[in-house]
């Protein structure tokens, strides 16, 4: 029964190509490695402990005449030494992993790459995600398009309450908080479509904050960015006010232009009544697309 259960769990865990166990970039990959290594290190002492618990309890059951009863045995310096050492040594090892891992995988640290990162500004709204591509001068809702193999450098904030930006297959999640900016660097090496979500409860529309991440080959990404620019509605003050009205399960869409400094204005203000500077035509049109696009 138990063996079947374990077999079922193992097969389901390994067979599924999804979630944090199927990372598509260096961050998620490194985190998965730490997860598995740490689990293995701990299982090395936990499995013997579990076996010993069952074995001791069973062997020393009251009815077992073969077991020696030692009613006064309550201390052994040697055993104490060992039982303090085993967890202490394990934790020293894992502590080292935690220290190195925290520094290597610090979310704000740029990823090593020969390519300049794509900049994306993320705003969580009630209850959808706004992605602004400052260098491309475009924006999208509930749909994040990135070039595969290129690092993405995020600035993140929230227009209302806290959320957490999370694409399980890319790795690290991070909070989006109003009037503050958090930073995150991720990369998707494998082209494909991945699920994204908010992983911090934010109110009634929270379950509808799912979004899709599309990792496109670089040339296709450039085509998408170029094709989107100037197409569809403009994200100006009025459009932003409209967008920031509470709604959930919002269909993905794209804005062909974005008011300059919209992200900074959102960080500086609160609520939908933004005091935006006068809308000017996007300035950065020419310089935008990363080289190789």
């Amino acid at each position: 029964m138990r063996r079947i259960a374990i077999a079922a769990v193992v097969s389901l865990l390994t067979a599924c190509n999804r979630g944090i166990l199927d990372p598509v970039g260096p961050v998620g990959q490194a985190e998965k490695t730490i997860l598995i290594n740490s689990t293995a290190i701990m299982l090395a002492i936990i499995i013997p402990t579990v076996i010993a618990t069952v074995a001791f309890a069973w062997w020393f059951r009251r009815g077992n005449a073969k077991a020696t009863y030692r009613p006064d045995w309550e201390y052994s310096g040697a055993i104490e030494m060992v039982v303090w050492s085993i967890p202490a040594l394990t934790i020293m090892l894992l502590g080292g992993i935690a220290w190195i891992g925290s520094h290597d995988l610090e979310p704000s640290k740029p990823l090593p790459s020969s390519k300049p990162p794509l900049k994306v500004d993320v705003v969580s709204l009630d209850w959808k995600w706004l992605f602004i591509y400052p260098d491309q001068g475009i924006a999208s809702v509930n749909q994040l398009v990135v070039p595969a193999g290129t690092p993405v450098s995020f600035r993140l904030t929230s227009a209302t309450v806290w959320n957490s930006f999370f694409v399980p297959q890319m790795g690290t999640m991070i909070y989006t908080m109003p009037r503050m900016t958090t930073r995150l660097n991720l990369q998707a090496d494998r082209p494909g479509t991945y699920d994204g979500l908010s992983s911090h409860f934010s109110g009634d529309g929270f379950p509808g904050m799912q979004f899709k991440v599309q990792a496109l080959p670089e040339d296709q990404f450039a085509m998408w960015a170029q094709g989107s620019r100037g197409q569809g509605p403009a994200l100006d003050g009025a459009a932003y006010a409209e967008l920031s009205r509470p709604s959930s399960y919002v269909k993905p869409m794209t804005y062909g232009s974005v008011a300059p400094n919209l992200y900074d204005a959102i960080v500086a203000n609160t609520g939908p009544q933004l005091h935006l500077p006068q809308i000017a035509p996007p300035k950065r049109q020419a310089s935008a697309v990363p080289a190789g696009g």
Binding site: I20, I46, R61, R62, E74, T90, Q169, I174, T182, F201
Partner: protein, 668 residues
């Protein structure tokens, strides 16, 4: 006149809360009618409601906790049902505004009004007995503590009938919990209920630290105290240190909500990150406030049913205190994903892991307590072994969560939900069930039915694993918590397994009620006249079951770590008890209605604050204060139990014990 309170506050148009309200009110009315018919009110009033006896207060705490467990479980099964139904195109049967109240109420009730009252209840019942004394340091304050806790529980449950409960999760993070985003009374119910019960908990902490430090039987030095008393001391020190932080944090949020302050708001210079830090400065020690006494319970159970002293007693004491101190240095691990930076994350991550060391030592010490023992597989021992097997896995996932880069991918996920349920159910709830079975005969003079008890254990053990192991898997798939609707249809099988697990736990809870009723009905078969049904080792087994109000006719003289065991072995060897001591009349505190009246006014005041009925709030506050003043000015504090009564009771007890020990010495 009535502030925000109008008829709209009653959920006439929402069938689920309306029907629940009616059923609960009918049940309460039925119980009240039954008590009236049996003329039990005066008995309840004299023996329980106004009692200053730590044992009676302990029992009231435990009853409150068990009743609230049913409420909290009802929330749990509704959530599991919703997540099994609301998949893909279906929205299930609970709209978000209702579902969000349910998970918020589930967490709030389970921690504050189930786990806390149960743990405090057992500390109340057991600690003075184990210390060999007659009561806690402040018996009336103890009664007040209980009634304030009950008052908080009342307010939380009132939100079901009048208004709504918070929809912001069990810790009500701002800015979501600020007026701008949660304008209703739900968050106010949450805040006020926790403020009222928080005062009760803080008073308990003061009471027990004083008791353990200052009032112990002669010869009961610190290093002779049972481990349960040590864990109770550590837990209450944490209460004293942590609960004021909770009170202050919630007070700041109340200032924001009621008076337009800007501590945690988005505007006016507020900073919601501050709340996150403050609430977890309380929240993390809270986990150890619950689990340390649980460790104490396992220590007592494993030692008793292995027929051996606890292995490495001093090591256990040291581990307990180490956990007590380190638990205050780890709060930041609840929000590694806030972007605090690598150094901060790493330091808090490693500090969190260090707690794993003394905890691991405890597991090994229980293991070696069994080694060389004669293990009796009683119901409490089932829970202890079940705990050891499941808690190590909970510890593993806990250490994983303490590694910042791992936390980055499982934070707030169902993996986290599975982890903390594994340590709270596997650690705290199993301990509570063990303690309930273990000390029940001490409280009522008969044991609980063993077969039904084992059935309950297997329901909890199997039900727990079915309910939460699937959540670990879903956590790996990227499933986050608090989802009223499940976007991915492929999660359904695991969610359905989790539902079945929850239903099995429900069966266990139902069987607990059956076990209690059956055990009462057939109590003559399992009566315990000896006062020592488990061959115990600590002082609570020295006295009668149930113990007299004053616990011990003469405070026991303690020699050595195992006060009662040593004494029992000497008596068995010599086939006689110690010489009959000089009995004295005993002074005991009088009953007092102070607690229940103060709590009545506190409830009135709390309810009025929630609904902005300011005149009533002031009236409630003045009333509560006046009762305290009235209490402080009374002349009579104690009554004397005459020496004849003490002597007669003590002689009867000696006769029974002599007979019992004589039988034991014959059988050796």
């Amino acid at each position: 006149m009535f502030g925000k309170l109008t008829w709209d506050a009653i959920p006439f148009h929402e069938p689920i809360p309306l029907i629940t309200s009616i059923v609960v009110l009918l049940a309460v009315a039925a119980i009240a009618a039954w008590i009236t018919r049996n003329r039990w009110w005066s008995y309840l009033w004299d023996e329980y409601i106004t009692s200053t006896d730590h044992k009676k207060i302990g029992i009231m705490y435990i009853v409150l906790g068990l009743v609230m467990l049913v409420r909290g479980f009802a929330d749990a099964i509704m959530m599991r049902a919703q997540q099994s139904l609301a998949i893909g195109a279906s929205q299930g049967y609970l709209p978000p505004e209702h579902y969000n109240q349910i998970f918020s109420a589930h967490g709030t009730i389970m921690i504050f009004f189930v786990a806390m009252p149960l743990v405090i209840g057992f500390m109340n019942f057991v600690v003075p007995l184990q210390l060999g004394v007659r009561d806690v340091a402040f018996p009336t304050m103890n009664n007040v503590s209980f009634w304030l806790t009950a008052s908080g529980a009342l307010l939380v449950n009132l939100s079901l009938f009048i208004g709504e409960f918070a929809r912001t999760g069990w810790l009500a993070f701002p800015p979501l919990s600020e007026k701008a985003f949660s304008p209703g009374v739900g968050v106010d119910y949450y805040l006020v209920a926790l403020q009222v019960s928080g005062v009760g908990t803080l008073l308990t902490g003061v009471n027990f630290v004083t008791t353990i430090l200052k009032i112990r039987a002669p010869g009961m030095s610190y290093l002779r105290m049972p481990v349960f008393c040590w864990t109770a001391l550590a837990s209450n020190l944490l209460i004293i240190a942590a609960f004021p932080v909770l009170t202050a944090t919630l007070a700041l949020l109340m200032l924001d909500r009621y008076l337009g302050f800007h501590f945690f708001t988005n505007d006016g210079g507020g900073n919601s990150m501050l709340y996150m830090n403050l609430i977890w400065v309380w929240g993390h020690p809270e986990v150890y406030i619950l689990v340390l006494p649980a460790f104490g319970i396992y220590s007592e159970v494993v030692s008793t049913f292995s027929g051996k002293p606890l292995f490495g007693y001093r090591s256990m004491v040291f581990a307990t205190l180490a956990i007590c101190i380190i638990s205050f240095m780890v709060w930041l691990h609840h929000f590694f994903t806030m972007g605090a930076g690598a150094d901060v994350n790493a330091v808090f991550g490693i500090a969190s892991m260090i707690i794993g060391v003394p905890t691991g030592v405890k597991i090994y010490n229980w293991l070696f307590t069994m080694y060389g023992g004669r293990v009796r597989f009683t119901v409490p021992m089932h829970y202890a072994i079940g705990f050891m097997l499941t808690f190590v896995i909970g510890g593993l996932t806990g250490v994983l969560l303490a590694i910042p880069p791992v936390d980055f991918i499982v934070h707030n996920s169902l993996f986290l939900v599975a982890h903390f349920h594994q340590v709270i159910i596997g650690g705290v709830v199993f301990a509570i069930m063990a303690a309930y079975t273990y000390w029940f005969p001490k409280a009522f003079g008969f044991t609980l039915d063993e077969r039904l008890g084992k059935a309950v254990f297997w329901c909890w053990f199997i039900g727990f694993h079915l309910a939460f192991m699937p959540l670990y898997v879903l956590g790996f798939w990227g499933a986050t918590r608090r989802m009223q609707h499940i976007p991915d249809a492929s999660w359904a099988p695991w969610l359905n397994v989790a539902f079945v697990g929850a239903a099995i736990i429900g069966l266990g809870i139902a069987l607990t009620v059956v076990q209690l009723l059956y055990s009462i009905k057939t109590r003559d078969q399992r009566i315990d006249i000896t006062g020592d049904p488990w061959d115990g080792r600590t002082l609570e087994w020295l006295t009668l079951s149930p113990p007299p109000h004053y616990n011990f006719a003469v405070l026991p003289d303690v020699h050595g770590e195992e006060a009662y065991w040593t004494r029992k072995q000497t008596a068995i060897k010599q086939d006689q008890l110690i010489k009959e001591p000089d009995y004295q009349p005993i002074e005991m505190p009088l009953n007092t209605p102070t607690g229940v009246i103060v709590a009545f006014f506190a409830s009135v005041c709390g309810f009025a604050v929630i609904w902005y009925i300011w005149w009533l709030a002031i009236l409630g506050l003045v009333g509560a204060f006046a009762v305290m003043v009235w209490y402080a000015w009374r002349d009579e504090h104690e009554h004397i139990i005459p020496i004849e009564e003490v002597r007669a009771n003590a002689r009867e007890r000696r006769r029974i014990r002599m007979e019992h020990l004589h039988n034991l010495s014959q059988s050796v």
